[in-house]
Structure formats: structure tokens, C-alpha cells
Amino acid sequence: MTGDRSSTNMLEVDDLVVEFDTPAGTLRAVDGVSLRIAERETLAIVGESGSGKSVLSRTFINLLAGNGTRTGTIKIGGRDIDQLSKAERKHFFGVEVAMIFQDPMTSLNPVKRIGSQLTEAMRYHLDVSKAEADERAIALLEQVHIPSPKQRMKQYPHELSGGMRQRVVIAMALACEPRLLIADEPTTALDVTVQKTILDLLDELRHERNMSMILITHDLGVARGRADRIGVMYAGRIQEMATADQLFSDMRHPYTQALLESIPDPSKPSHTRLQPIPGRPPNLLDPPAGCPFAARCRNAQADCLNSKPTLSADEGGAADHVYACFHPVGTPAGEAALAANRAAGETAAGLPMAEVEGELV
């Protein structure tokens, strides 16, 4: 599935930290993320709103708000993006790495024709004539399965449906043949039936063009069906990363477990009681000293409150399954922590066990 892992990495990120200077103080949106994406691989990043997944993906394409600062290294296709010369930068972002945004309604310019929006990047980045750019744009529209592409070139975004617009946005991202595609919630604004066709299209294009892809989503179902590996993000940190199958069948982090349990399962009968995650994510302006999930976690022990666990793999287990937890699910340490909390009636963070298991308000 992941292809040859020993081949060069498309993306290498080491100890990435992104901080924003806000009136209320410094907000650390991404807190020490390191990851690798191989060529032709799809990595999904899942997490709730505010977990930092969008900020993370935007730093890869050099889109950082003015009040943000970044430390740590990002290598795309083996090249450190901080080492690029000014001339190289100009034709790097948008060419080597491209992005698809969430809302197809607002990511197109309403007063420009589809054709001119599609050819704009090509004319700027690649040295092509207008006629050639037009030809390539029509071919792109064909590739994303837009019927009668010649007519579409002359239309405005409001003349297309949401699904068609998202196809145009995808065609725009592909215009300069990127090797890494970042899709930030590409189907959230679309109907399920359209969502399926768009995700199928992305799969198809990724294979055709040997692209790597980062799929940002809050939908675990989408991540499971479309990604080789999945990273679960919470409070700016990757809490668990594994191949898609491993993550669902053999999860280690209590947050992953809680997230999965909170989703209605269509294979269960109706009115099955759902298990929400109690509490709220931590305030990133004043992050907790220990594990950010400890306050909502059913396995939380005293050590979770005092120090932050780092990502590591099971001893002797699969090296590509890493998690940041002292008392992981499905291990003796996790079982012991859970049993101790059950006996005490509450977790070390003072959360009553009744709220995390079974009966609720």
C-alpha cells in the first residue's frame, strides 16, 4: 500500500512548532510535529476543530498568517524550504506542492471565468503561451471529468454546481503538476454522493501522476477509506500515527479510542447510546503541563498530568505505529491504569469514571 518505504521521502518534517502572537498571549497551534510521507503515499491527518491540522498543512505550502512564527525544518522532495533562494521560492509553492481548500464556493474568484483562473498559475509559473495554457486547461478539465470542458472555460463559477466547482479547484491545484498535494477538508462542504466521486477522482489522479497526498479531514470514515497512514492530532500534537488498518483494529491512544466510540456506527441498531468525550480540548494559550488529553482521558494517571509523553512504538511491534501515551489502550500498562481508575471511581485528573464509561447525563 505505501509502496517502497525506503525510497526518498516526499515530505520530511522535523520538530515543527508554529506559534501565533495574539492579544491574549502566545498560542502554540502546532507543538513539535515530525512526520514523513513517502512518494505516492497518502497520509490522512484527523482531528477536531482547533487541533492544529489546518495550520500544520498550511505551513507546508508557506501559508502562515502574519502573526505566526515557525521553527523546525520542512523538506519537500528532499529540499529544505528555508534554504530556497528567492527566485526558487517564487516557482516552488504552487508548483512542487499545491493545495485544495475546503470550500469550493469561496476558493474561486466569482468575477473571473474558469478558463482564466485555470491558466493563471500556468502562465505565471511555467513558461507557456496563452494558447498552450488553454489547451492544457481543457485537458485538465477533462481529467477531472467535467463534461464539455471547452464551454466550461468560458463560464463563471456561479454557473457550476458545488461538485463541479470542487473539480475546477482540483484542476487548478494540478495545473503545475505538483508532486505533493495537500487537500484540506476537500469534501466537507459537499453531499455524500458528490464526496464519494471527488474522493474517487483524487485517488485516480494520485495514481496517474504518482503524487503524494496529505488529506486533512475530521471524518474518520473518509480517512480510513482513502489513506495509507493516518495521524491523529490533538492540541497541536500528533498523538498516534499508524497505517489505516492498524489504527482502527489496534489503536493505542485513548483519544483515538474515544474519537471512534463517539461516532454513530451505521451497523448498530438505531437509538444505540453514543459515548461522547467529556470536557473540552485544552486552552492552547495556557496548555497543561502534562498530556493535553489527560483531563478527558479514562486512563489518566498521575504521571500523565506532570509530563508529556513522546511518540514511540511498541517494543518489538510495527515501527510505523507510534503513539504518545504512558498508559496505552490494549497494553498491560493501559489495562492497569484503567482498572485503577475504575476502582477509584475517578481518573487522576478528577474526572468521574461514570462520565467516560457507560451512563451519562
Binding site: 477536531e48 476543530s49 454546481s161 458545488g162 461538485g163 463541479m164 453531499d191 455524500v192 454522493t193 458528490v194 464526496q195 464519494k196 466521486t197 474522493l199 474517487d200 475530521h218 471524518d219 474518520l220 470514515g221 473518509v222 480517512a223 480510513r224 477509506g225 482513502r226 474515544a258 474519537l259 463517539s262 461516532i263 454513530p264 456506527d265 451505521p266 451497523s267 448498530k268 441498531p269 438505531s270 437509538h271 444505540t272 447510546r273 453514543l274 459515548q275 461522547p276 468525550i277 473540552r280 451519562l360 447525563v361
Partner: protein, 334 residues
């Protein structure tokens, strides 16, 4: 107009709302009109949750809103407590309005940012306050019930998270002791962990205050979880209606099957049927079955003759005995 049938309407004493042949059309000038809802019938029994699913633009929100006469439907009748409320005068309608409440998709923008939580929840009581049974101390009880600390009554919506705002919306909807609450995509804007809290809360409130829900969502897993009965809509028509478990176990309309196959990550109930193409124009809807242009099994009959809703399980069979109805000439029956 060819009917979509009323075979699925139930003859029971506890039917609370009964909608027959409802049509909603919006004129758009030049003599043209958008056919938003075309001859939809359904009923809602006491304490039941009816889920309505379909793609955007299929008329699911319009159906629910026209049921409570916002706007009044172009044609058809809505029976509530033995009276047809489409025939009501404005004042008569005002008198029954407290029985119907709504919860909207975006919890933050559906609360007035300049009012306190207490004022927001109390507004209905102020309008109907002369009735002795509605007292202001009910607000604290309600805030408690939906999980908002009553001490926060003087706070404003921006001081709460999205999930908490949705709890406030639920309290506001419950304050006048309604019979029916329309939930229009109430959890779509929420994260999954909060979504589970709100869905559980809706179930609890339904049990505690004895309301019926009309639950609109595009998320099939959510609809299956909360509904007793589910109606699938396509272009202003009912495709299929059945008990929640029955519908998900045995989808028979080709559109329902395509919807289920599109649930991401879920094991496809049906084989991999995806639907191609776009919704036809609602200004000039096709004759015959409206899904025919995108249906894998469409024949000439489908393009000319409109299917009526008919029962496909044995009389009194299925779960709950309310039956499984489909509007298709060639449903998939295993």
C-alpha cells in the same frame, strides 16, 4: 399531478401530524417556478423521531418548514390535532405555533449575540407569559436539564462553545412545551465528540418532555442512530420510507442504495453503486420518476410513468409493523 401515494400513512390514534399531498413552489419570475416539494405525504406519531435524508436541494428543509407553515405550502394539507392548519387564519396559526419549535444548524448564529442566555430562553415565555402554567423558574430547570449551569444565565452566546450554544438552542426550543421540534442539521457544525453529546441530549429530552422530532441531516449514520423512521427524499419527492433499522438493513430504492454506498468508510450495504451526473433542474423537473436520469436501472417506463409509494414487506411485517414503502417500479428486493 401524478401522486406519490399515501399508502404509507398510518391510521393510528396517536398520529400527531399528518401531511398529505404537500406541494411547495417558489415563483422565480417569467411564469417559472421552482418545484421544491412535489406531493409529499408523511405522518409523525407521538414520541417518534422521523429522519429526513437527501442531498442538498432535495427539499428536506422546505418540507419540514412548510409543515409548520413557514412558508405556507402551495397545496396540500397538514393535520395537527384533528385540524388542517393550512386553512388557519394568521391568528389561529399564532395560537398553535408554540407547539412547533426549531433547532438550527449553526448554533452560534442562531442565538442573538446581544442577549443573555436567560433572555434567549425566556423570550417565548414573555410572548406567552400570561399562561399560568409557564413560569420563569422553568428556565433554570431547563438549563439544568440541557447541561448548562444555571449560574451562567447572565452570560452571552459568545462566551460558550458551539456545543454549549446548541444546548441553549435546545433549551429555547423546549421552553414552551412543544409537541414537535424540527431539528435542521443540528449536529453538522459540531465536532464528533460534541455531536455525540448533543445526540444523546436530544434522546434524553425527547424521553423527558415527550416531544416528537423531525430530524433533518445529510449524515446517514447520525440519522440512523436517532430516528425511528426514515424518509429518503430526492428532488422534492419521497423515494423510500421505512423503520430506521429496516431501511438500513434492506435499502430497496436505487437512490437509497447509492446514498448508503457513499457513506465513507462504512461497509457498503449494497454493492458499489455510485450515481453519476447532477441533479436535474428543479424548475423543469423530468416527467416520470425524477431519479430516472441518474438511475442505473431506469427503463422507458421510469421516464414516462411516475412510481407511487407501495409497501414491499408483508402487512404488519418489518419492525414496529409500520411497513417499508418505496416509490420505484423496479426496487431491489433480495
Amino acid at each position: 399531478m401524478a401522486g406519490s401515494g399515501t399508502a404509507h400513512l398510518r391510521e393510528r390514534d396517536d398520529v400527531l401530524v399528518r401531511v398529505e399531498h404537500m406541494v411547495v413552489e417558489f415563483p422565480i419570475g417569467r411564469g417559472q417556478k421552482v418545484h421544491a416539494v412535489s406531493d409529499v405525504s408523511f405522518d409523525l406519531v407521538e414520541g417518534e423521531t422521523l429522519g429526513i435524508v437527501g442531498e442538498s436541494g432535495c427539499g428536506k428543509s422546505t418540507t419540514a418548514k412548510a409543515t409548520i407553515q413557514l412558508p405556507r405550502p402551495t397545496d396540500g394539507s397538514v393535520w395537527f390535532k384533528g385540524q388542517d392548519i393550512t386553512k388557519f387564519s394568521t391568528e389561529q396559526l399564532r395560537q398553535v405555533r408554540p407547539e412547533f419549535q426549531m433547532i438550527f444548524q449553526d448554533p452560534i448564529s442562531s442565538l442573538n449575540p446581544r442577549r443573555t442566555v436567560h433572555e434567549i430562553i425566556a423570550e417565548g415565555l414573555k410572548v406567552w407569559g400570561d399562561n399560568d402554567t409557564w413560569q420563569l423558574d422553568r428556565i433554570e430547570e431547563l438549563m439544568e436539564a440541557v447541561g448548562i449551569d444555571p449560574r451562567y444565565g447572565e452570560r452571552k452566546p459568545h462566551q460558550f462553545s458551539g456545543g454549549q450554544c446548541q444546548r441553549i438552542s435546545i433549551a429555547r426550543a423546549l421552553v414552551l412545551d412543544p409537541k414537535v421540534i424540527i431539528c435542521d442539521e443540528p449536529v453538522s457544525a459540531l465536532d464528533v465528540s460534541v455531536q455525540a453529546q448533543i445526540l444523546n441530549l436530544l434522546e434524553d429530552m425527547k424521553a423527558r418532555y415527550g416531544v416528537s422530532l423531525m430530524f433533518i441531516s445529510h449524515d446517514l449514520s447520525v440519522v440512523k442512530n436517532i430516528s425511528d423512521r426514515v424518509m429518503v427524499m430526492y428532488m422534492g419527492k419521497t423515494c423510500e420510507i421505512a423503520g430506521s433499522d429496516e431501511l438500513f438493513a434492506r435499502p430497496t430504492h436505487h437512490y437509497t442504495r447509492a446514498l448508503m454506498a457513499a457513506i465513507p468508510g462504512a461497509q457498503a450495504v449494497a454493492d458499489d453503486v455510485s450515481i453519476e451526473g447532477e441533479l436535474p433542474s428543479a424548475i423543469d423537473p423530468p416527467a416520470g420518476c425524477r431519479f430516472a436520469s441518474r438511475c442505473p436501472a431506469a427503463t422507458d417506463k421510469c421516464r414516462t410513468e411516475e412510481p407511487e409509494l407501495r409497501q414491499i414487506d408483508a402487512e404488519g411485517g418489518g419492525d414496529g409493523g409500520d411497513g417499508h414503502f418505496v416509490a420505484c417500479h423496479f426496487p431491489v428486493l433480495d
